[in-house]
Structures are given as structure tokens and as C-alpha cells.
Amino acid sequence: MADVAPADPAHIPAAEVEDVELFHPQSWITRWVFCQDAKVIAIQYSFTAIAIGIVAMVLSWMMRLQLGFPETMSFFEPAAYYQFVTMHGMIMVIYLLTALFLGGFGNYMIPLMIGARDMVFPYVNMLSYWIYLGAVLILVASFFVPGGPTGAGWTLYPPQAILPGTPGAGAGIVLMLVSLSLFIIGFTMGGLNYVVTVLQARARGMSLMRMPLTIWGIFVATILALLAFPALLVSAVMMTFDGVLGTSFFMPAMISQGEMLDHDGGSPLLFQHLFWFFGHPEVYIVALPAFGIVSDLISVHARRHIFGYRMMVWAIVAIGGLSFVVWAHHMYVSGMNPYFGFFFATTTLIIAVPTALKVYNWTLTLWKANIQMTIPMLWSLAFIVTFLNGGITGLFLGNVVVDVPLSDTMFVVAHFHMVMGVAPLMVVFGAIYHWFPLITGRMLHHGMGVFHFWVTFIGAYAIFLPLHYLGFLGVPRRYFEMGETTFIPDSVQTLNAFVTVMVLIVGFAQLVFFFNLFRSASSGKVSEPNPWRACSLEWQTPDFPPGHGNFGKDLPVVYRWAYDYGVPDVEDDFVPQHIHPDKVKMKSGSGA
């Protein structure tokens, strides 16, 4: 229901939020390098995350070339393959997606969408980026140390992660653990900013239930990350002790390469519990911002208010809470107590309820809506379908009896790529097409955008649907090559070659996207302010793109939620959040 009924302005009291003392850059260095403006920090985060993401993408090409055309990629050994797998996974999950959604979109969108001038602790926010950059550089450095980066798999399970014989078991794993620890410290600094800014620095009238769902997604994901990353930090510190100082937190007594090791009595299973206590919330740390952003994209580009806003908020909060009690569904074959499996299968099914609710609400938002087939909308629709696909295969893997035979097969690879790789990246792309005009003042090239979308969308399915089938056949993950395997037919190789070709085609589409980004930023079509006719505050700034301090002399006052689209009798089919009820332009003769 649209809230355009004139309200008494006397209801709006003076703002309780103090106007912050803005950081004013004095030089080029403090304007663009050591800058405390959240928008600049967001761009720094995004560039760094995308740059390291490109490294991970190239690593995936190398892996697929080996799988698609074994025997022809003679320039790398099995050890290098494991290193590519490990670094691809870790970079994509932590250093690209987490950093991009929270450090990138979080920094840009939070102050603008809630009507604040900046984050509440700008200096700490700046430190957060530089520590993140340090973490990335240390990670990259591991490619150049003797033995190369770790090849232990992105889960870094002990004991093999630090045992001789595992690629990168020397300096590689230590640099990875140090890099992760730094990342967590940097993130904590940024995360405190995001949460406190959302809680304490909203514009007048911006009650929690008037916040755009983008902010809700980022807000709850940040809380998850703040509470989940300590588990990774503890496991990283303890494994560093095991690897460097010879302790036995996780390392049992064992013989390695014919020699009895000094370790004794440690529990590898303990590491797995710690890792997945972080690892499963991590899925939602990536997914919740995507849920929030896609809700806004759908609403804006379907010209319809989001269906069931309050349920959407509660679902985000419920998913966040439940994500802490499902971690051991990643460990059904680890040897843990089977009764644990029953408990975690149940909680996994329960978390599907609020998640399904969100899918229903996105679909119902689209129902009878005035859908604009813009590129952000294309990505949003693709996200819904892809997330649904990935979510359903998650129900397979969440059940112990189905998971056991599928464990460590390509089915698992297909599942998690669909649900937390492809689906969130579709939202990232949609969000970039949507907010690019806000950031640069120019539109992305439409033709290249359409090409990018269709090749990526069809290509992603051409890659990952066959991987589900390979998993059913029993093709294991993490194998450099299959060799002579009786239960795997020869046709698997043909399918693998097809998947590899599709990976390269999708990779080419990403190069077109990057070209589009750089070309449009300098010579794209100049955008009008608020080109998508959106209600939320980031489009209502006096300067376009928004300038230093975001909102000019006076902060905005909010009179409604961010979803007043398709409002009957209103002249322009939408009412921005900051327009005073008396100033809403009505159609002539509407009688309002």
C-alpha cells in the first residue's frame, strides 16, 4: 500500500543524529589514496576485489583446460592444479565476493541509502581497506615463494594442509593463514562501521522498517561476518602454531613419508568444526547482500513495490540466525557422530523455509508488474532462477543419505557454484549495471551489456548443468586427471571438453564486460540523474554523481519507504523517499 497520504510535517522532529565532522581531503593523496570518504573507499575495495577476482578467473581457466584437455597442458604439474583449485576457491569466496559485497557495495550504498554523509568512523574505515589490500598482497606473494601457494583445497583441512608433500606446505600455507588473519582484522574494522552507521546515522524519518532491503542484507550479513570470522581467525592462528611452532592443536600422531612426526593427539575434526562454523555463515555473508540488492533491483525495474517487505526483512534476520546452526552439514562424511547428521539435516531443511519465502516474494513482486526488461532486470531474473536451482540441489546435499554418495563429486562443485558463485555474481553484475550511472554519471553500453548477459547466463548453465550429471556418474572433484576408471564412461571426457570450451566463451564475455566498464566510464552516454526513476535516497542527491558529503547543505528527511512504485494518481508512477507528502505531484483530475 502506497503511503502518499499527506502527513502533518509537525510530526517530524529535529534530527537526533549529529551532523558528522566530515573529513576534507587536502591533497591528491588524501583525495584518492588515503581517503576517508566511503565512496572512494568503496571504489578502492571494488577495484582490488575485481583485480584479484580476475586472477581467480584465470586460474579457473587453467583448471578447466587441464580437465577438458588432459595430456595437452604439459606446462603444469598436478601440484600446480591443486594450487589453482585452492587459490581460485579462496579468492572467489573471501577476497572477491565478501570484499565486493561488504567493502564495495556496503561502503558506497550504506551512507547514501540511509541518508548519511559518511560512515561514522571514517578513519577506521580507511584503515580497513589498507589492511585488506595488505591481505591481498600477502596472498599474491604466496605465488612467488618457494613451493608456491598452498594447494590444500580452499577448506585448508589439516593435517594435509601443513604436511610435506602437499603443495605449498611451507611458506604457502603460512602466507595464506597470515593473509586470512589480516583480512579478518581489516574486515572487523569495516564491519563495525557498517553496523554502527546503519544503527546510528540514518536520516530523519528513516526508521529501520523504511530502510531499503539492500541495507538490510548488508547489515545482517555484516553482523554474521563479525560473529563468524572469529572462528576462522582462531583456526588460522592455531594452524599457524601447528605448522610453524610444532604444536598439536589439530595435528594427530602420524607417519608422513615414512617418518614419525613430532605431532601428537591433535584433532583434525576440531578444525573442521571451527572452519565450517565460519564457512556456512560465509555462504549467507555473500547471499544476504545479494538477496537485498536483488529485491531492490526487481522492485525498481518492475515498477512495483516489493511484495511482503516485512517478511523479507524477517527472512533475512531468520536466515542469518539459522545460518549458525547448520555448519556440520558440510561434514557428514567426516566421521563425526551420526546423530549430529540428523540434527544438522533438520536445521538445513528449516533454513530453506525463509529462503523459499524470499523466492516467492520476488516472484510475487513480478506478478502483474510493469516489468522493464533492462539489463539489471535480466540479471535479477537470472538470479532467481539460478538461486532456485542451486538451492534445490542444496536440499539434496543437506540430507545425509543423499549427501554421502554425492560427497566429493562434481555434483557438489556444481551445487555451490550455482548457489554461491554464479547466483551472487549475477546480482553483482545487475547491481553494477544499475548503479554505474550513479558512480560515474554515464550509462554502460546497452548492446555490450545484452551480449554479456546472454553469453554469461546461457554459458553458466552450459558449464554447471553438465557438472551435476558428472557428479551423478561419480566423477570426483579435485582430481588432476581421471586415468583408467572403470565406472566412468569415455563420454565424460567429451562432456568435460565441452564444459571447458564454454568456460572460455563465458570468460571472453567477461572481457567484453570489463571493456564496457572502462569505455563507458570515460565515453559512455551521459546519464540523466535518477535514470531508473528509483525511490531510494542514493538517487536523490543534489549533485549527480553524489559529491563529498553526499547531500549538500541539509540532510534529507524521509517520509516513506523505498518502494512507492506504480502509485495510482501520482504523476510520475513513483514517489522518492524524501519528497514531502504535500509536494507529491498528482495527476490532474485525480482529486487528491
Binding site: M1, A2, D3, A5, A7, H11, I12, P13, A14, A15, E16, V17, G115, V120, F121, T188, L192, V195, V196, L199, Q200, A201, R202, R204, G205, M206, S207, L208, M209, R210, L226, L227, P230, A231, L233, V234, V237, M238, F241, L245, G246, T247, S248, F249, D262, D264, G265, G266, S267, L270, L274, Y309, V313, W314, V317, V558, Y559, R560, W561, Y563
Partner: protein, 205 residues
């Protein structure tokens, strides 16, 4: 209006719109710094709680040998209590507008913390001299790790303490200093509490 009460609102409905319009923009009537510190302490709590869980899990395995705590740990704990009390004194003095008490309390708090950290390093040296290295047994490994992580948190706190001390040295108004002193005191009390729990755990097992 409480956080949960706000979640139940439907401000897009015409009859609830004016209520939401009353919203001044803040969720809690507290300075942002206090909210930030509380959230950070929640993160710290999770970190050390996980260590307690891991410690409890590890100690039931067959190779666990109880720790013979060095006597210096008791002394260091006493010094850390002293640091916390000194900062509390600074806070009470600030509340009463007594600048001399603030100065004494703040300096004493910082010095005690510094002594505690040096004492922890000395304790490590004592352990090593007695043949208890970090890899000697799981309980000794935990002592090294817990002391290290707790010490790093205190070192971080000393940065905030240093900023406060510099502001005081430059003669900043006591009203403006109050929040910084209060935040430092809260942090020190909290880290003392965490240390007492961890120390108790190590002593009792």
C-alpha cells in the same frame, strides 16, 4: 522504541507513517563510539568463547597434561586488576571533574598495563627456561596462544589509551575527554573479565 518493536512496524501503511516520521535516525540513544565498542566486545567475546570451546574439546583427549602455572601469572593478574582499578579511578575522577585524579588514574592504568605485558613476556621466558616450550604439551600451547591473543588485544587498547593520554596532555577539556576515558575503562574491565575466565580455566584444568 526498542529494536524488536521497530521490526514489527509497517510504516508504509498510512496510519503508521507519521510514527515512523517521528524517527530521529538513531536506534539507540547512545554515542556511536559506545555502540561500536559494544559490538567490538561482542566480536571479542565470540573469539575467546571459541577458544574456550576448543580448549575444552582438546583437554578431553588422551595426551592432555594439566598445566603447572608459573607463579608470575598470579602476579601479572594482580597487575592487570590494578590497571582496571586505576582506569576506574580516572573515570570516577572525570565524573567529579577532578583533573588530577584523571591524570593519575590514566597514567597508572597505562603503566600497569605495560607492566602486565612485560610480565607476560617474562612469564614466557620463565616457561622456556624451565623447558616448557610452545610445543611441549597442549596445555602449554594454549597458555602461549591465549596469553598472546589477550596481549594483542591489550596492545590495541593501548593505542586508544595513548590517544586519550595525548589529548589529556594537550589540555583538552574534561567533558570532551570523558567519553574516551569511559571507553578505555569499559574495554579494560572487559579484557580483565576475559582474562580472569581464561586464567581460571587454565588454573582449574
Amino acid at each position: 522504541m526498542s529494536f524488536t518493536h521497530e521490526l514489527a512496524k509497517k510504516p508504509w501503511l498510512a496510519d503508521q507513517g507519521p510514527d515512523a516520521g517521528d524517527h530521529g535516525g538513531k536506534t539507540f540513544p547512545l554515542p556511536s563510539e559506545k555502540i561500536g565498542l559494544r559490538i567490538f566486545l561482542a566480536v571479542v567475546t565470540v573469539l575467546f568463547s571459541l577458544i574456550i570451546v576448543v580448549y575444552s574439546d582438546r583437554m578431553v583427549l588422551s595426551d592432555w597434561r594439566p598445566l603447572q602455572e608459573p607463579w608470575l601469572l598470579w602476579l601479572n593478574t594482580g597487575v592487570l586488576i590494578g590497571a582496571s582499578l586505576a582506569l576506574q579511578w580516572a573515570l570516577v575522577s572525570a565524573r567529579r571533574g577532578q583533573i588530577d585524579g584523571v591524570k593519575t588514574g590514566l597514567w597508572a592504568g597505562g603503566v600497569c598495563t605495560f607492566v602486565f605485558l612485560v610480565g607476560q613476556l617474562w612469564m614466557v621466558q620463565q616457561l622456556a627456561a624451565a623447558g616448557y616450550y610452545v610445543d611441549t604439551s597442549p596445555s602449554v600451547s594454549f597458555l602461549y596462544m591465549i596469553s598472546g591473543l589477550h596481549g594483542l588485544h591489550l596492545l590495541g587498547g593501548l593505542i586508544a589509551w595513548g590517544r586519550t593520554a595525548v589529548k589529556m596532555w594537550r589540555g583538552q577539556n574534561l567533558d570532551e575527554l570523558y567519553l574516551s576515558i569511559e571507553l578505555c575503562t569499559t574495554y579494560w574491565h572487559y579484557l580483565l573479565g576475559i582474562w580472569l575466565v581464561l586464567f581460571g580455566l587454565m588454573v582449574s584444568t
